[in-house]
């Protein structure tokens, strides 16, 4: 990032009773960025979002927008709007009234409000529905209203709490594209909270992976996938074959399998995990020398197939992705060769530290 960040989260710590929801989390989000906070439930992503919006007060740390301290501002004065997971549409107001609500709070004139509401209604494609009540809309339509209501105020920052979780699969896919289009069109900074890695990967420019209130890794989707900073990130982002062992020079010694060549910068003799993405696992003729295994299942997914292979000495079967349909069948003997393989440390505290370094590097 070259310019000053739009949002700066600095050492934010949040505590509920005895549990620490956020352990000194720091991150910067740039102008016009589509940013995702990703993690399993209870990782602290929602707490962070709600702290930015002003519904939670962190125990310590700073949150700044354009260099202004947000934590000193009451929630209703922050230049931040949020789309709620439940949408939180006002059931007693029409679509129009819902959207106008934020502008009325600003005390704008009637004509100005009407003009801006009409504009936004158009952008999100709600033309025919402006007079309806939320109860008369479908899930997808409600989401558009929630979105329109949040963007009509032209906030510096738009927060979206699990924006797609309440929609069914098909609406989800189209809404995902639309969110991305909207972000370009209106030129806002989006911060999305999600537990769905596919959603984060497909939409976000950068992703912060959170786990147990700590920032595990912050990187682009491509970087997260190619170079996970920890075993957790490797397993959470996409699917991966994870081979636990001990580092050697240029590899990982996996019990029952021997040394697997893997790129890493860890000291020798550390507990580590070799990460092989399914598309980097090559299935060869059983006659070739090297690792052998038996096909236990094949899944045809249309464009690609996933083949699971049982390898003697390993507890879990290995997964390989091949292009198109595969001629392999259950019980076939195959050779297995690892392509691009990286290794990550298994010690989680160490992983978090190295993730922080990777971010600042």
């Amino acid at each position: 990032m070259t310019s000053a960040p739009l949002l700066r989260v600095d050492g934010v710590r949040a505590v509920y009773g005895d549990t620490v929801a956020l352990h000194d989390v720091s991150l910067d989000i740039g102008d016009n960025e589509f940013f995702a906070l990703l993690g399993p439930s209870g990782c602290g992503k929602t707490t962070l979002l709600r702290s930015i919006a002003g519904f939670e007060t962190p125990a310590s740390g700073r949150i700044e927008v354009d260099g202004e301290d947000l934590l000193r501002m009451p929630a209703h004065k922050r230049p931040v709007n949020m789309m709620f997971q439940s949408y939180a549409l006002f059931p007693h107001m029409s679509v129009e009234k819902n959207i106008a609500y934020g502008l009325e709070s600003e005390g704008l004139g009637r004509a100005e409000i009407a003009r801006r509401v009409a504009e936004v209604v158009d952008v999100v494609g709600l033309g025919q529905l402006a007079k309806r009540r939320p109860a008369q809309l479908s899930g997808g339509q409600r989401q558009r209203v929630a979105l329109a209501r949040a963007i009509v105020k032209r906030p510096r920052l738009l927060l979206l709490d699990e924006p797609l979780s309440a929609l069914d699969r098909q609406v989800r896919a189209s809404m995902q594209l639309e969110l991305k289009r909207l972000q370009h069109e209106v030129g806002l900074t989006f911060v999305v909270v999600t537990h769905d890695q596919e959603e984060a990967m497909s939409m976000a420019d950068r992703i912060a992976v959170l786990r147990d209130g700590r920032l595990e890794q912050l990187a682009t989707p491509q970087e997260l996938y190619a170079n996970p900073a920890s075993r957790f990130v490797a397993s959470f982002i996409g699917s991966a074959n994870l081979l636990d062992g001990t580092t050697t020079v240029g590899g990982v010694d996996v019990p029952g399998l021997g040394v697997v060549e893997a790129a890493h910068a860890l000291p020798v003799g550390e507990p580590a995990t070799a990460v092989v993405r399914p598309e980097d696992l090559e299935l060869t003729d059983a006659a070739t020398t090297g690792l052998r295994g038996t096909v236990i299942d094949t899944y045809f997914l249309g464009g690609a197939s996933t083949i699971s292979v049982e390898v003697p000495g390993l507890e879990a079967p290995l997964l390989a992705t091949v292009h198109g349909a595969s001629r392999l069948a259950r019980g076939d003997a195959v050779g297995v060769r690892f392509g691009r393989t990286s290794a990550v440390a298994r010690d989680d505290a160490g992983a978090a530290a190295s993730a922080q370094e990777a971010v600042s590097a």
């Binding site: 919006a53 002003g54 519904f55 929630a75 209703h76 004065k77 931040v80 709007n81 949020m82 709620f84 997971q85 439940s86 939180a88 549409l89 006002f90 059931p91 007693h92 029409s94 609500y101 934020g102 709070s105 600003e106 007079k131 009540r133 109860a135 008369q136 209501r149 105020k153």
Partner: protein, 300 residues
């Protein structure tokens, strides 16, 4: 809710008819009970209103409208208006006191919420007459309240509080306040907290968030509470009798007097029926208003 015409296949229609009859076994016992012990007596009451009184109660089967015309006499009209006024005051006071109470209870932690709700309904578990006599002990000229006031030197002579209209209001309010708090609490408690957060997030200060979101959405609960208080407050006759000393006559007392003292059954029936009609109208009004609030104006 939507006005789109549904295309129904015969199978679907049959299914719907069957579903239409399904509630009958569940409704029948209660409905039967209500018809026998509610509709029939009310029908009888209506029947009575069109005949002349018997000398020692009962009625003479001579058709007449006199009973209804008699209602317009200033004496009776005054009592009816006064009853409505009194019940209205009690209802508004209950709303003014009950709303903040219900709002506060809805915001408590689950444990304290239960304790508070039990405290609200606790008076209901005490005998009605005992509670009313307790008020007499409190309010009379040598009562605790007057003793306390004199003890503190705030007044020299006892203030007559018992047997005043104000005393009736206090007694009715005490009696029916829980009926305001409970429905209000129910509607406030089920309000999604994220709605208030959304209002705040959209720039509404706490007062605007309350006025535009919380208040309108709790209106159906408030209206239910108002009906729950207004209806029994208007027809109560024990409290006006005991705490009001029978000086302030409300419709309930009038009905009782017609049957037991004046032995004018037809006129008593007319008054009772009028009371019922007023209360039914109040309930109809309430449900119409709350439907409008929750569903919005009907679309054409």
């Amino acid at each position: 809710m939507t006005s789109t015409p549904h295309q129904t296949t015969p199978g679907v229609r049959a299914n719907r008819v069957r579903r239409g009859l399904a509630p009958v076994p569940f409704l029948a016992p209660g409905m039967l009970f209500l018809i026998v012990f509610m509709a029939i007596p009310v029908g009888l009451l209506a029947f009575y209103t069109f005949f002349k009184r018997g000398r020692f109660g009962g009625l003479v089967f001579e058709f007449t409208f006199d009973n209804w015309i008699k209602l317009l006499e200033p004496l009776y009209l005054g009592v009816i208006v006064q009853s409505i006024g009194m019940a209205l005051v009690v209802t508004l006071l209950a709303l003014a006191i009950g709303y903040p109470m219900a709002y506060a209870i809805a915001g408590l932690s689950p444990k304290w919420r239960t304790i508070a709700l039990i405290a609200v309904v606790l008076p209901f578990w005490t005998n009605f007459l005992v509670r009313t006599y307790a008020w007499i002990l409190l309010l009379n000229n040598a009562g605790w309240l007057n003793q306390a006031l004199q003890g503190l030197g705030l007044t020299d002579e006892p203030i007559s509080m018992l047997y005043t209209p104000q005393a009736i209001v206090v007694g009715l309010l005490y009696m029916y306040l829980p009926l305001m708090v409970l429905p209000l609490y129910a509607s406030l408690q089920q309000l999604d907290p994220s709605l208030r957060e959304a209002a705040t997030n959209l720039g509404a200060n706490p007062w605007r968030a309350f006025r535009t979101v919380t208040l309108p959405l709790s209106l159906p609960g408030a209206l239910t509470g108002c009906v729950f208080v207004f209806v029994p407050a208007m027809s109560n006759f024990v409290i006006p009798e005991l705490i009001g000393g029978g000086k302030t006559v409300m419709v309930g007392n009038l009905v009782r007097d017609q049957f037991f003292e004046a032995r004018d059954w037809p006129f008593g029936a007319t008054l009772a029926l009028l009371l019922t009609i007023i209360l039914v109208l109040v309930i109809v009004l309430q449900s119409a208003v709350s439907r409008r609030v929750t569903e919005g104006p009907r679309r054409g």
